[in-house]
Every structure is written in structure tokens, then in C-alpha cells.
Symmetry: D2
Subunit: 299 residues, 4 copies
């Protein structure tokens, strides 16, 4: 023990004069701090490899139960999807250098540009800040989507960081997530159609779908329920891609004229804002239409 308990951190009683010893005690807290500071050296450097895309993916914790408790509609709840997208938008607006985000179900992926130096590319800082901003936004914007239905408890998300060295790798990552969205949504659509419209129990619906291929599921929807899956909501089939877009905005500004009179003038300015897309991001078209998202590989 460095210093006496009673006097640690500069305490003294009223009547006593500040003796040299007391002076030692009251100034020793600074020394104490420097004595402990060696523990900083136990932090390890987790800088992300340069010239790679940094992907942070968040996944809801126990969202199956969360969805039950908050009575999410089946197979998709537009309020919940809207809230996920609103929270992701909040992340993009708060953190620098996210060039695209893609979400579906209870997950969202955020892609930092390969040359980003945000947070000095420290993986821990990047992923915790994303997880934090997303989670606080989820609670903050709950009311916008669920109105008076109360949020019962604060939800949790976990995250991870993955690096992708090439545009091909990054696009394949996003394709992987969108293919996952498709497979799950097709399954869920048929499953809940069988239950809600076909009158099957959930066990019966499960049995019915065991071993079926995508084509079989499309067939069930089409021939039994007259549903063309391709006409289903793009939001559900494709998920949500968020990107930055420049838009020209025309605003009216009051300006002073040389003769000191004032006048309203229409001013056009270019503003970057986050736009949502519910479209295929596996094929070439999306990337050809938005050539600014990816940087050249050989840089």
C-alpha cells in the first residue's frame, strides 16, 4: 500500500496544518496514477490491414424472442424493418467513411471504404461505435415506428469485423447476405402462407417444406395460393441497401441587393444524403449505376 487509508487522495481534518507529510499525501494521488499507468501497455494494437474494405456486421441478440414479445407480424414486420433501416441510417450519418450498408431481418452490415482512416482503422473502436450508435438509435426511434406500443426492454446486438481485400470479395460478401435474405424470405413466405392462409399447423407447414427446393416453394405459392413470389414486396425479397447520393436541392435564400433592398433568391446546392434501395445487388446493374461506391482494386 502506497499511502495511509484515511489520507489517501488529499484528505485532511480541519484543524491540522498542512505538514510536509500531509503535503506528500495529498500530492501522492498523482504519483499513484502514474504508478498504475503501466497497465495501458496491455492494450494491443488491432489496426485493420490497409487497402481492405472493413465490414462491420451487427446481429440481433435473441431477436426471435424479442419479436415474439413485441408481437412482430409474420413473416415480416415492416415497422421492425423500418426501425432497423432508420438506425442504420443514423450510423451512416454519425460515422465517417461508410460507403454502403446492407440489412435484412435482424442484421445489418456496414462497409467502410478501403482507404478509410476513421478511428485510425482500429477494429475495436469501429465495431463498438457502430454497435453503440445502432443500439441507441434503435431505442431512440422506436416510437416513430411502433407508436404507442411500448418497448419492453433494451435490446442487444453483437458485432464483428471482417476485412475484404478486393472488390470481388466485397461484392461476394454482400451477395452472400442478399442470397441469405432471399432463401430465408422465400421459406418464411411459404411457411406463413401455409399456416395463415392454408390452415396448417406450424409443424405441418414445417413437414410440408422439408426438402423442397426454391422452385417447389414458388410452385406452392403460385398453384395453391395464386401468389407470384416475384410480385411480393422488394423490401422483403431483397433487403435494404443504403448508399450516399448527391442530390441537388433548391432552397430559397434571402439576399441583400447592392441597393440595400432584400430579395428571395432560389439557390441550388448539392447535398449528400443516404438513400435506400430494395433491389438486386448481386448482378452488375446496381454497381454500374453507382460507380462511386467501390474504389479501384489496384490502388
Amino acid at each position: 500500500m502506497l499511502i495511509g487509508k484515511a489520507c489517501r487522495f488529499g484528505g485532511r481534518v480541519r484543524s491540522c496544518v498542512l505538514t510536509p507529510l500531509a503535503r506528500f499525501f495529498v500530492s501522492s494521488s498523482n504519483m499513484a496514477k502514474s504508478k498504475f499507468e503501466y497497465v495501458r501497455n496491455f492494450e494491443t494494437d488491432d489496426t485493420c490491414l490497409r487497402n481492405c474494405y472493413i465490414v462491420v456486421r451487427l446481429d440481433g441478440r435473441n431477436f426471435h424472442k424479442f419479436a415474439e414479445q413485441h408481437k412482430f407480424t409474420k413473416p415480416n414486420d415492416n415497422r421492425a424493418l423500418g426501425l432497423m433501416t432508420r438506425s442504420a441510417r443514423s450510423v451512416m450519418e454519425e460515422l465517417e467513411d461508410i460507403v454502403i450498408a446492407y440489412g435484412q431481418s435482424d442484421e445489418f452490415s456496414f462497409v467502410f471504404k478501403r482507404t478509410s482512416t476513421w478511428f485510425k482503422r482500429r477494429a475495436s473502436k469501429l465495431m463498438t461505435h457502430v454497435a453503440s450508435q445502432f443500439s441507441s438509435s434503435y431505442v431512440f426511434y422506436w416510437k416513430e415506428f411502433f407508436g404507442e406500443q411500448p418497448l419492453l426492454y433494451p435490446p442487444g446486438f453483437d458485432g464483428r469485423v471482417v476485412l475484404y481485400p478486393s472488390n470481388r470479395n466485397l461484392r461476394d460478401y454482400l451477395s452472400w447476405r442478399q442470397a441469405d435474405c432471399h432463401i430465408n424470405n422465400l421459406y418464411n413466405t411459404v411457411f406463413w402462407t401455409l399456416v395463415l392462409k392454408g390452415g396448417l399447423t406450424t409443424t405441418q407447414a414445417e413437414d410440408r417444406l422439408k426438402g423442397t427446393l426454391a422452385a417447389d416453394k414458388n410452385e406452392i405459392l403460385f398453384s395453391e395460393f395464386d401468389i407470384n413470389y416475384n410480385n411480393e414486396s422488394a423490401l422483403h425479397r431483397k433487403g435494404t441497401a443504403l448508399i450516399w447520393e448527391k442530390r441537388d436541392e433548391t432552397v430559397t435564400k434571402r439576399m441583400k441587393l447592392p441597393n440595400k433592398e432584400e430579395k428571395d433568391v432560389a439557390v441550388t446546392r448539392s447535398r449528400r444524403r443516404v438513400e435506400a434501395y430494395h433491389c438486386d445487388i448481386i448482378g452488375e446493374q446496381f454497381w454500374e449505376e453507382h460507380p462511386d461506391i467501390l474504389e479501384d482494386d489496384n490502388c
Copy 2:
């Protein structure tokens, strides 16, 4: 490109029969997914070294500005400190294996026991889940502490993971944070006393404190404002340590008697709950009084 754009993901038009080719297309989304799944191998293993304490520390992002905008009282805002502690308690109750948490100002540290296997000790999962649960709780419990004063925007926290191999190292880490609390709070107490009671401008107060030691600051408080720093709030001077404690609870239970009558019976059961301490955690006493927090070094 794998498959034709129009038909990707099982689309077909109403009138057409499901030809073998279509069948190929509609089932190819599964193949597509497996084609992309190689991207999973880009994830790296970030398992924390065994037999080390895992510390996750969160820090508020831009909390200086956040405090201004939400009119936090100076030098300490008890509502804000209470909300931090409430959020930390939510983290401890939600995640397993946190043996102690320590917070002060806009930071909170969470210590996982050295033998924890929560999340398979994956650093990214541990820190993002902590950051997420803390942040969603901060917004969720805002009202409990700030009442009708609105939260203006969702706040952000960033985090990091540090490993400590020995009890000494871990205690020195916690001592480092408490020494930091002391130094900052002593400074802030004198600074705001000079401004609010002494009538100095913030610049004058800053100048006055330049180069002063802890003893000098105590002296200013004592001789000029009749304040004994040691009598100031322990919450502000020592910060908040959260630990698990077993408490015996006596509850009344209605029990059926053999004669089918019912009767109220007092039942005592042991329950673990999170308790808050605002005391010195640098010295031996706290650790001697709570011997269950730390595990033996040589295990």
C-alpha cells in the same frame, strides 16, 4: 454472371410452365449462396488469451458536447451518473461472467472473470455486445433519470478490450481508473467552485489552477470556500463499483396445507443481485471484504 437477371431467385411469369431450365434457375439461388459462402473464411479468430481477466471499457463519444446540450450540472450531474450506473447494471444482468464494473464520468469498465467462456471469449462479440446493451439501456432508462427533459439524439460510445494476466494487473487497472476519477473530480470541483462561488471566469479559473498540485487544490477549497474535499460526495470522489452480492430475501408464499386449506408462509431464499459501492478500491480493504471477486492467480 451466374444466371439471367429476370429469372434470378426463382422468378417466373404467370403463364409459363416450370420448364427444366426454369427449374434450374429457381433452384440456383441456393447454389449462388454456397458460391458466395467462401467469404466467411475472411473472418479472423480473436479469441482472448485464456486465464486472463477480460476488461471492456466504454467511453462516451463527444460527451462534452452532449453534456452541454443536455444541460448537465457542473461539475457533476447526478442524473447523468445515475443513468450511467443504471445502464451498466443492465449490462451486468444481461451478460454472464462480469465480476465487477467500475465507472466514473462518461466511462465504464466491465471485468469478465478470467475463466469465462462467454461468447467463446471472442473479443469482438464481447465488446460489441457490451457497447450495444449499454447504449440501448442508456436511451431506454433516460426518462427514469431525466424525467420530461427530452433526449435530443441517440448518444454513442466506443469500446476496447484489454487483457490482464494477474490479479495485481487487474487491480492496478481499476486503481488507475479510480485515480483518474479522483484527479479529474478534484480539479473540476475546485474549478467550478472558483467559477460558481468565487465569481471567476472560466479562463481565470483555468489560470488559477495551472500548475497546482492536489494539496494546493485542497487548500483553495478549504481556506477560501470552507470546503473539506473529503466531505464531498463519495459518488463523485470515488466513482461507482458494481459487484454481485448474495442477499437473503424473505418472501411470503401461499402454500396448500394437507387439509387443502391455504396458508401464508415466510420463505427465505438467497438471491444474487448487483450492488453499487462508492468507496476506495485501490487499497486492500475492499478486496478483503469481497474475496469472491478475484480468482486465485495460480490457476
Copy 3:
């Protein structure tokens, strides 16, 4: 302690019968091993990020002193450079997937192809095997280059691993090493010319060169010693690049004819072998002439 000291690991004295207890003891070493095996879990995964070039660079330890003690000629010792290259060739022939190696002075860099799965891409295995094979080869082949001059002690090299995500990054790495070779060799050439031909002391030569640019050094060589630096040995100016090349070899094989007679037949077969180049690898020409070294970026 698990088991009695005298009997650990199955010991027993001649006269004693193998009692059940002894049986326990003698079989307990296996149990002991499994009891300790948990320590394997302290190993961490250091798999290199996929789709990146893996570069292992070795540097001689205390080679300044080593060169002195073994009387290396100044400014370059062709025997020493030859031995480095021979050792590097041994590494390339022993390990799979090295597509190019570049060496100069007492360093050598080895580039594994971006899709390599050698050693499951484990960084520690890759770099230690390279360091080991290079070092044992250096001693093994010493005599081929230094003849009867004895090697006084076993030399040491240290190594590191660096990942490069794009062809541009990898080429810039190799350019960096070759630019380093040029700068050092130009300096050393002028320095030792001033000393050996110009009669300066080493201190005088050092002073003379302080602050000079490449142009100044060329000028000294040219105007004072009639040396055109560009005519100096390419090995010294450019270092050594080792790559795999396919060569057609014609060998004579004795074959049996249908009539059971034998006949010598010339057979041409393609063989891969390591070739050394002492040329510019910064510009495009080398890479255009050897298009197989690098893989396409967007894969």
C-alpha cells in the same frame, strides 16, 4: 500432485507384483498428459487474411559484425551475396507457393501467392519455416562460396510477415526494397571508392558524403574516379530477384522397341526451376515479361 514421485511414469521395482495400485500408477501418465493438454488452447490462431500476398522478410542479425569477422570485401562481397541467393533458392525449392523472392545486402523477401494455402496460411509457421530453412542452408552452403575460409559461428536472421492486398501494394513493396538497395549501394560504392581509391579515412569519406544527393554521388564517381555508376555490376545495383521459370529440357531416354530391341530417344520435357534476375523490378517491363508472377487483383 497427481501421483507418487517414485512411481511416476510407470516405474516399479523388480520384485513387486503389479498390484492394482501400481497399475493405476503406471497408467496414470496418460491421464497426466490429458490433464495438461488444456494448455494447447492458449495457442492463438494467426491465419493470414485470404486473398492477400504474404511477404516474409528476413534480415541478418548483427551482420555488420559478422561481415567484419568474416572479412567480407567492401562495398560488396560476391561470395556473401551468392550464399544469400543460394539459401533463398533452397527456401523456394523447399516451401510451396513462393512466386518471387527479392534480396539485397543481408536481407531477403519471400512472396507467397495470394491464394496460397501452404501451412493453412498460419503466419507463425510460414515465417519460422522460412527463417529456419534459410539459416540452415546458409551454413550448409557456406563452403560452396567461401571454400576453406571457416564459418566462425552460426549466424542468425530475424523475420516478419506483412500482407499486401493488391498487386500495386506488392509491387510497391518490392520497389521499396529495390530503391533501398540502390540508395545504399550508391552510397557504399562512393564511400569505399573515396576510401580505397581516394585515400580518405572513413571519417573523411563520411563527412564528404553528408548531405549529398544521388546526382552528387554520381558526379563524384564520374569526375573524380572516371566511374560510370550505371556500368557497375547489376547484381550490386539491382539486387537479386528469384522467380520460377519453365524450361524445356531435352533428355536422352533408353526405350524398348516392340521388337524388344532398345534405342536412345530424345525426350523433351518442361521443368520448373528457379532463375535469378539482376534487373529493374520497379518499372513495367519486368512484369510484362513475366505475367505469371502476379494473380489478377479482382479475384
Copy 4:
């Protein structure tokens, strides 16, 4: 491309005057180097966690084949074991801070003290230097152990780094390796006794030993071949532990007396040297007898 190919790196032809443009070219190699130097930032920090033992273990590559080709005697070749130990001693003498090394068969583990700052605790540097020094020593000292029998090719070793936070963990690691030594050596001893003395084929010996416990193997040796395994060579049963020991050495020094005469004086000085032990390191005794190897856990 930065600069013209012909002039890169300061070249110029004899007749031409050094024009400003040429001056640009000849000085541009330095600029070129700085242009490429960004590639250094792709190196990642691999500092070992503080206050942990750093273990580097080397394993022979393809030593089964190496042993065959160099006609190692079965089941143990004392020359080969001696050479391993000699090489390990060379590593200990060359690198700082190795407190104990343990070897058996074709592997050797080196333990750096927990407070070591050698190579700034950079894992890559530590393990490659160990691998390099060991491998060059293996070839260098070959003759001392194998005399005129030639080394046919340079052998390879691979290595890894593992961290252990507590004395218990470290001792369990060493116990694990010694238990492994015991199990393998017992098996090999019986196997080769069955083959060389019992006249079994290797396949027959293998079958005979399938499913046997340590006790069974001891029994075979004892009852069939009159061999008490415990009397076998400790080197083979226990492997080799290398530690530093202080020894008092008495040397004779010639000293000048005040009367200017000279006289031989016996001087005792303490010298550290590496000593080899072939004893149990699993139990307490070894560690009690050498209390300086391990540092206190709680530091």
C-alpha cells in the same frame, strides 16, 4: 511510372552535361523510395501480452524421413539428441531472457521470462530468431556429433509462439511436453525391443502394442526382456531441460604487486552458464531446487 526507364536511379551517359532535368532524374530515386515507403504501414503489431511467459516451440520438418536418411539409431539416437541440445544451448546463449528450455525427440521449447522486453516482445521477431539460430546451429555443430557422416541437406524446423499467464499454466505446458516424451519413449522402447530383440516385424510389433496401457508395456519389457524401464537412460525417459546456473569459477590471474613484481593470484568469480538436466520437471522438487526460474505470479 515516375521516371524514364533509361535514367532511373541516376544513370547518365558520359558525354552529357548534368542538366536540371537530369538532376531531377538522378535525385528522384530518393523520392521514389519515399513514395513506396507507405507499404511499411501494412505491418501489424504483434506485441505479446505483458506479464505472460512467452514460449517458442520448434518442431522438425519431416524428421521421420530425415532420421531414416541419416540412419539415426532406434528408438533413440544420442548423437541426434546431443545435437538438438547443443543447438538449443546456442539459442539460449545468443538470445536474452530465456529462463528454461525443454526438448525431446525433434522438438525444443524456449521460455522467455514474463517481464522480458527482448525484441519489444514482438512475437514474429522472437520466434523467427529462435528458429534461425537453432537451425544454423544444427548444421554448424553437426560434425561435433556425427563426425565424418555427412549431413545430406539443410534441415527445416517450424515454430510457434504461445503465451502463458501464470506459473501454473507454464508448468503445465512443460509437464505436457514431458508427459508426451514419456509416452512416446515408452512406446518406442517397447516397439523397438520387440523388433530388434524379439524378432517381430514392425507390423507385428504394432499389432502387439495396439490398445496396451503404460503398465502393459512395462510388463512386456520386464517379463519378456528383463528390462526395467525405469533403469533406462534418463535422457530418453525425461528429455532435456536447460537452465541458467551460476557457478563459481576459480581462475589464475597474473597481478602486479606494489613492488612492481608480478604474482599469480587465484580469483574466484561467478559465471552464469547453461546446464542440462534429465529429470522430472512435472513434480515440485525440480522447481523447489531452482526457485529462480519462475517469477512471482502476482506481479
